[in-house]
């Protein structure tokens, strides 16, 4: 029987590759019986979907270029013109 720690790793891994049959079965069996790992697994999927959406946002947080950087970039662009 695998531990929750081991299962948590398999759950994460399943987001990055198709698990070998043996691991997949072990994970499913454990998840059927363990509500804590089920919650964790659900959160991993929620995290994935939140990140997927966050990755499409063009302005994730409001940051502003410093005046120095703004000037520097403008000068670099003018040189190229």
């Amino acid at each position: 029987m695998r531990t929750c720690k081991e299962i948590s790793k398999l759950v994460s891994e399943s987001l990055d590759r198709e698990l070998p049959l043996r691991e997949r079965m072990a994970m499913r069996l454990h998840l059927m019986m363990c509500s804590l790992c089920r919650t964790y697994s659900h959160q991993m999927r929620q995290l994935r979907s939140v990140l997927k959406k966050a990755s499409d946002v063009e302005t994730p947080t409001e940051q502003t270029l410093s005046e120095e950087a703004r000037l520097r970039i403008k000068q670099a662009l003018k040189k190229e013109e």
Partner: protein
Amino acid sequence: MAEVSPTELDPEVWVDEHGDALYSYALSRLNNPASAEDVVQETLLAALKSGKSFSGRSSARTWLIGILRHKIVDLIRKESREQPHEEIETAESPEEEFFDRKGRWGIKPVEWQVNPGKILEQKEFMAVLFQCMEHLPDRLHRLFVLRELEDQDSDFVCKELGITPTNLWVMLHRARMRLRGCLTENWFGANE
């Protein structure tokens, strides 16, 4: 469609119109103001050289972000090659925090009581999400951004960062454990 106004091709105007947005985007992926400023500059230079013009601000923005994404992936790749790899085993592991010695949950997961689809509309959530990512150690941050935000597959990330798939999976697991903990603490838990 309206004619392209001449000001839109003026690099100065570009910096004023798109600079902050590009910078925000870059900073959210690179975690380092100086690198973020550099890729913004490179992006605008590449845009200028291409000589392409747009009839609207939003289509120009989308196009610029597209260029920026490539520059970001390139830079992450470069930075990770320049930094020597620490042994994976010594990289900080959050597992001890969450599990006891027998591998059972020490800090038990509690269902998040919110619909993640909806919370994304909230700016505050977004800020917390990116802050939590910022707190990842550099190496985890880099591979996590490539994998999850830039949607690169495992093979690509392994190849570009010069790591084995096993290391990648271990590190992605650690990054996710940390993020899960951080979001629980700073958003889902705090909102109860």
